[in-house]
Amino acid sequence: MIENIKILILREFLILKKQSFSFFSLSFILPCFIYIFFAVPFSKVFTELKPIYSIWVCSGILLVSVLFTVYLLNFNWIKKIYNSNFMNSLPITTIEYFISQLLFSIIIGLFQFTVSALVLNSLSVGFISFSQFLKCFFVLLPSIILVSNLSLIVNSFFKKEYIFNFSNCLFFLFISFSIGSFIPINLYPSEYINFVIYLPISSSLINIQNIISFQTIFFNMLFISIFYCLVFCFISYNIIDRKVHN
């Protein structure tokens, strides 16, 4: 089982190798662009924040860049099973497919998280220490797994390419502007805040913001994220299983 998972992950990385230049470039450009086009202008607007906006917004940039990358890279994955009789003839179990994809997402997430943290550290000097880095990644982990599954679920329902592109845009807008990544959540209507803080991704964001501003982690929110993450894992596992066993 472990051997098959290792080989499936290797396969994903060999596929990624062909686009390695564009992948590395985009991994670097994405946090830079978000910083330049969102953080810099907004820093002139939100001047009252503590810590200062350019530090506060780093949590949003980390979250958006990591989750958007994971979402994009997972999008094509289910198609590889759906469209391939050959893949389905291989002695691979559903759990092996599933775990390999989750691990691949986590590795990609960690890579993007590291690149984004390095970029942001050089732009806003020393916003994050190594222990904060580890804590942030830990609280982000359920969201990475959730987004990886969400990508798989969306792709298994919609086959057209324009819907794929449309859903990418919607996802980017959602994680950027609906959960307080770049605009402080207390500026939204209170009814909306009560709803959105219990969304799994926003609870990860709130915890990252807390870690960066040296506050304590909300473990209840972390558990909510883990709960949602498990629900999404269950759904996508069943989608894969249905496909593998036709």
Binding site: L10, K18, S84, M87, N88, S89, N246
Partner: protein, 307 residues
């Protein structure tokens, strides 16, 4: 003889239409089994059911003694499957495409490099190992897909129309390898090419209307036709109307066809041919041709019987 594949009363519906009904047959270990049949008759579905890609609706399938219902992963590990369509990871090189899948079949990574180089030499694609599949010709892609399905020396090899639309060069490369290097494996292939089935299999089954109509060696199939032969008479000019009237009333003529100056028919009785020839000699004839029955002829016979 030990059975490699056994179908017992298997049925399969696709979109509420019966594709296979009460299908039962067996494939002995070590045979090269050809399954021929018209397009849409269910040949590919049979291969997909054996390899666990699709599920049967009724019946039982055993592969090397394991039932597909509960030992699917075990079965998948002892088969090699070549799909009908090109299925590659387009972002992987030819080498990586073979390497990854051979590893998933449990091959040792240390010996794999040598094995890939060896099979690529034998199948004449060693110069393309580091190319991407997109840049390769159709025939070469089929050869590489074939290599990918046999690299792990599986007990049972399932080839879904392996040489369909492949040029003669690559066709002979594939069949040479099958005949010379895969003697210990059971090979189950589907084809629409009757010559391939006739020349490279030692057992043939004809699938028609959801069931097996014939199953046996080609010699037995020919014998079962009781001497069916194909006759052609080529007239110098247009076929005379009198001649057409006479032969139209002969019940022993099977599947006759007229085209301008050529008259073709099948018959199991040689005397019929001589009688027809006698009538034909009333006009000037250019040539006659008598051929033994081929698999295609038998297949046409089945279609006629059912029509």
């Amino acid at each position: 003889m030990e059975a490699s594949i056994t179908f017992k009363s298997v049925a399969k519906k696709i979109k509420s239409e019966t594709l296979l009904a009460d299908l039962s047959f067996g494939v002995e270990k070590g045979t090269r089994f050809a399954l021929v049949g018209p397009n849409g008759s269910g040949k590919s579905s049979i291969i997909k059911m054996i390899s666990g890609i699709i599920q049967k609706d009724k019946g039982t399938i055993y592969v090397k003694g394991y039932e597909t219902e509960n030992k699917l992963n075990k079965i998948k590990s002892i088969i090699g499957y070549m799909p009908q369509n090109s299925e590659f990871d387009l972002d992987l090189t030819v080498y990586d495409n073979i390497y990854i899948y051979a590893r998933l079949y449990g091959m040792d990574k240390n010996s794999l490099k040598d094995n890939i180089e060896k099979i690529s030499r034998l199948l004449h694609f060693n110069n393309y190992l580091h190319s991407y599949p997109k840049s390769l010709s159709f025939g070469l892609k089929r050869v590489i897909m074939f290599a990918r399905s046999v690299i792990h020396n599986p007990d049972i090899i399932l080839l879904d129309e392996p040489t369909a639309n492949v040029d003669p060069k690559f066709r002979s490369i594939i069949w040479n390898y099958v005949c010379n290097y895969l003697n210990k494996s059971t090979i189950f292939f589907t084809t629409n090419n009757f010559n391939d089935a006739q020349d490279y299999s030692n057992r043939i089954a004809i699938l028609y209307n959801g069931n097996i109509k014939y199953n046996g060696t080609f010699e037995n199939l020919v014998n079962s036709t009781r001497g069916l032969a194909r006759y052609s008479i080529i007239f110098k000019d247009k076929i005379p109307n009198d001649f057409i009237k006479i032969i139209s009333s002969n019940p022993k003529i099977i599947n006759s066809s007229f085209s301008d100056n050529i008259f073709k028919f099948y018959s199991v009785d040689k005397l019929v041919c001589f009688r027809i020839l006698k009538h034909a000699l009333n006009s000037e004839i250019e040539d006659i041709d008598i051929s033994n029955c081929s698999l295609e002829d038998i297949f046409k016979g089945i279609e006629i019987d059912n029509d």
